[in-house]
Amino acid sequence: MKAKTADKIATAVFYAVAGLVVLILAFLLGYILLAGLPKLSWHFLAAPAQAFSAGGGIGIQLFNSFYLLVLAMLISFPIALGAGIYLNEYAKQNWITNVVRTAIEILSSLPSVVVGLFGFLLFVVQFKLGFSILSGALALTFFNLPLLTRSVETSLASIPNLQREAGLALGLSRWETVTKVILPAAVPSILTGVILSAGRVFGEAAALIYTSGQSAPALNFADWNPFNIASPLNPLRPAETLAVHIWKINSEGIMPDASAVSAGASAVLVIAVLLFNFLARWLGNRLYKRLTAND
């Protein structure tokens, strides 16, 4: 009965290991939320940050994070969509396609710090855009493109070939088949991919510290002309995001209530990521039911 004893011991060990991991993960989530949630208030979410005194908020950083996310998505989504369509619908199975796929894979595995440094070199220094939202959004685009392309491609690949044949049989061109038949069918899973990558972009910091900068100048939220320097919409102003803010106040150590502010800001980041996840699941399911009449 030695084998049976070993089996029992092994089972117990697996229970212990899994239990420990669950404890670690639960502690992680619990710590972030328990430490951060009490700090959250309307004032904290809306007020500008204070560099040298306690009681500052994260208002401008929060806005910057969302604005940067929207800009990065606006730039990267069309490119990823086009690239995904070409890879799945047009590209032949040959060595060029293989090289392209490898290149995309390499881009997705590059450390985000390297992507940020490249953005710094190209946009901030070479194109003289300075530390600006635009530089940040472009760096985030590079960071985001490979994964988004991947998710568009797999979404398109999951649409059965019957649909393509049906489109072509109706006399549609390949491009028309893709845009009128395949894309609408793939919308739910593409959307899920977009939202999930939005969560990643929202929390990214290493690619941003040298592209969108580490300062958050005061904004005038009554001025929506993108050409004014104090306008929140101006794409050429430096913009510290929430994730960068957490890093900066912790490594500088000037702010007296840095740990409280970072706890609150971490909770906001994590809640945002959770919301993106739930939104992706919910919207994906709902759209799927809608579009396939499975309600």
């Binding site: 092994a10 229970y15 491009w175 912790n250």
Partner: protein, 306 residues
């Protein structure tokens, strides 16, 4: 007659839109490839400038123990010893992977083979959720929980390789776990049935059949986690102590390639020797990420052969 002829011979509107669409999507794809080439070109030219323009000896860069870009040594060579950072990066990566692998495999086996119900319903969604948590949050937790813990247990400042390892271990654990679980899931069901039918216990089935069949997938997961740990910048920078010294022990302040980069780029002048040296570090990072990529491919190819 002529009208019909021209109509038939002209390219139709559908052909025009087809060509346009194909061109648009192809240019989008080319743009991505162009970006990859540009990244390599820029980082390589900047990183190699240290050796070709500033004539720093490549070998002394890799093996030198002192990183003090402003100072020159007796023979007039600037002190660019990157060894402390390279050692720091590798040490943290390998240690984090060593700690994370057994936990990840244990959890993945648990949620796939032992308690599939709870696994699929609770553990898997939670791990997938944790994959998306921003790295600065891990860094902040490291700073407010791990560093004090290490300080109180082992003395010293609490900043160092050990804290970095713990933070990275927690950070890559969800990634490695969920990828390992996928690898286990792709082992066909009849492998298990055949083993159980031979009278093997569940542990024997897991150990002799399932884990062996899933080895390539598990290795891929671990290398992927290592690549992520190696390239992680801010979470490590916050807890590692940032002293460019060879690590004396696990709790002495040290640094990694990424931590020196994040701190240094803003404090040096573009084009100066000090700045070029930092780009050489970035080049090392880039090359290492290529190596990880290559290893994952090799594992995939070997796994496919069997």
């Amino acid at each position: 007659m002529d009208k019909i002829k021209t109509q038939l011979q002209q390219t139709s509107q559908a052909t025009h839109s087809e060509r346009r669409g194909r061109l648009i999507s192809l240019s989008a794809l080319s743009l991505i490839v162009l970006v990859v080439i540009a990244i390599f070109w820029f980082v390589a030219t900047k990183g190699l400038a240290t050796f070709f323009e500033n004539h720093v000896d490549f070998w002394s860069f890799l093996s030198g123990k002192t990183w003090d870009p402003g100072v020159k040594n007796a023979s007039g060579q600037p002190l660019f010893g990157a060894l402390p950072m390279i050692v720091g990066s590798f040490l943290i990566t390998v240690l984090a992977a060593l700690v994370a692998t057994p936990f990840a495999i244990g959890t993945a086996v648990f949620m796939n083979e032992i308690e599939p119900r709870h696994g699929a319903k609770i553990i898997q969604p939670v791990t997938e959720l944790l994959v998306g948590i921003p790295s600065v949050v891990y860094g902040f937790i490291g700073l407010s929980v791990v560093v004090p813990l290490v300080r109180n247990t082992f003395g010293g400042s609490g900043f160092g390789i050990l804290s970095g390892t713990v933070v990275l271990f927690i950070m890559i654990l969800p990634t490695v776990t969920s990828m390992t679980a996928d690898a286990l899931k792709s082992v066909p069901r009849y492998y298990r049935e055949a083993s159980l039918a031979l009278g093997a216990t569940r542990w024997q089935t897991i150990y002799k059949v399932v884990l062996r069949a899933a080895t390539p997938g598990i290795l891929t997961a671990v290398v992927f986690g290592m690549a992520r740990a190696f390239g992680e910048a801010l979470a490590v920078q916050m807890v590692v102590g940032n002293a460019a010294l060879l690590p004396q022990n696990l709790v002495s302040p040290s640094s990694t390639l990424t931590s020196v980069l994040t701190q240094g780029i803003g404090n040096t002048v573009m084009g100066s020797l000090q700045n070029n040296a930092l780009w050489s570090l970035a080049l090392v990072l880039l090359v290492m990420s290529l190596v990880f990529n290559l290893v994952i491919r090799l594992i995939g190819r070997k796994g496919a052969l069997r």
